[in-house]
Amino acid sequence: MDIVLQQLVNGLTLGSVYGLIAIGYTMVYGIIGMINFAHGDVYMVSAYITAIVVALLSFFGIESFPIIIIGTLFITIAVTGAYGWAIEQIAYRPLRNSGRLSALISAIGMSLILQNYVQISQGARQQGIPTMLTGAVRFDVGDGFVQITYMKLVILLVAFLGMGTLTYIIQRTKLGRMCRATQQDRKMASILGINTDRVISIVFVIGASMAALAGVLITLDYGAFDFYVGFIIGIKAFTAAVLGGIGSLPGAMLGGIILGVSESLFAGLISSDYKDVFSFSLLVIILIFRPSGLLGKPEVEKV
């Protein structure tokens, strides 16, 4: 019983991080119909930026955890957002009017460029930062106990704050309405006076910012990372986006949490060696029985 609860908690934190990254896949897909395969590497870049900011802050003698996490979040989100903006300008905008395949190949190229650029500039070895927030809360459950580290609580809190803020922006603000309009009918949006190119840029920045949020949280918790760390987590987040229904914002968050929880339960109760196999099997099953995902709308052929 205690192990189920423990894995539920672990899964929830993992899933909220998957959800954050999945947002970038789903929003970009929703607005330009393209899978941004460089998105996982944007996450990887944000992990390096996190480490650099942490190092800088400690160089200036700042040791208090709240200041470190807030400072890291702000700077990392800003710099990673700039990466997202630049990637769109360089790799996707020139190909806006060519076929989908060209943009996809460009995305794969961008992913390779980011990995190699970080590998060359930062080195191929695994890097790490020390754990800064230690301690945990414990709950007794039956004979055993469930332990939640303070860092995991911070992850949950920040991730849900991030998702809540984004949902508010998309649902309630003018910027959000402009994003949704561009997603639903780009041509009509431009006729109404929306600069759709700018909206697309903003969506890339939002996606990268959410990945940066995940990057900061995971790096501060886990510590270790290398230039290849974006690949597997990127594919997992992509799975989460498809699971929830690609193009759907609540779908990405829900998909992330379902994937994280089920993966953790599988790892804890059955086999941690096969947890990736389990995640991707879940994707296959969803694609067979519900190709549009849990919250996605079935594709209707337009006439």
Partner: protein, 237 residues
């Protein structure tokens, strides 16, 4: 009267196919001008070319003294041109209110609440449905929404593409009644229609388009009694 918008020898191509051939027409401030023609004559192409979709390959579209034929759609929209397009194109996943707010992009939210009330007065059906998603509404309601959304930007020139398409005769009547009211308020309207009877009765002037060319022009009344127009568009034999 001065020309608010003027087409000068406009050519438009879809690949090798010429959709508009040396089209010239003008719309003066305060006028209601209609463009009638059958399916595929190029009427919608003409309206969309104002927003550069598709781009004109030669000729000029002069709007308030400036050639806008090569400008971006959002530039055109932010200068007082609003369109209720063919097929209505309301945002299906947005509520009526949100759709209306999309109309305010060029002018900002300053008058949004006041103008929305005005739209609800003109189209009471929209008020009943204000929190409903556009995709769940009937064709007539969506058409009202598309027109209201265009009006929300307080345009100087209102462009309407077949507001009667696919609607029940009673709804068509309602919509033209509303257009009449809007016109009395001084709005300049450029109306593209297949329903020549309604359109010509409403309009001050009209143009007849056949295969991408302007074939005839005259006042609404002249065209209504013209035997060629009657044969081709009004079912008179």
């Amino acid at each position: 009267m001065s020309a608010l918008m003027q087409f000068k020898d406009v050519d438009v191509y879809y690949g090798p196919i010429q959709a508009l051939k040396k089209v010239s027409l003008d719309v003066n401030t305060g006028e209601i001008v209609t463009l009638i023609g059958s399916n595929g004559a190029g009427k919608s192409t003409l309206l969309m070319s104002i927003f550069g979709q598709p781009r004109v390959s030669s000729g000029e579209i002069i709007y308030r003294g400036e050639d806008i034929s090569q400008k971006s759609a959002h530039y055109v929209a932010s200068n007082g041109l609003a369109q209720s397009p063919e097929g209505r194109r309301v945002f299906p996943g947005m509520t009526v209110e949100e759709n209306l707010l999309m109309g305010t992009i060029p002018i900002g939210m300053e008058h949004a609440q006041e103008d929305m009330q005005k739209m609800f007065d003109i189209f009471p059906r929209l008020k009943e449905r204000r929190n409903q998603r556009a995709s769940t509404m009937s064709g007539g309601e969506q058409q009202m929404l598309a027109i209201a959304r265009a009006l929300m930007s307080r345009p100087k020139l209102l462009l309407l593409d077949e507001p009667s398409l696919g609607l029940a005769p009673i709804v068509v009547k309602q919509i033209f009644q509303v257009l009449k009211e809007v016109a009395t308020s001084g709005m300049t309207i450029f109306l593209v229609e297949q329903n020549a009877n309604h359109a010509l009765k409403l309009a001050d002037r009209g143009y007849v388009m056949v295969n991408g060319e302007i074939r005839m022009t005259g006042t609404g009344d002249e065209l209504l009694v013209n035997p060629d127009v009657r044969d081709a568009y009004l079912g008179g034999h």
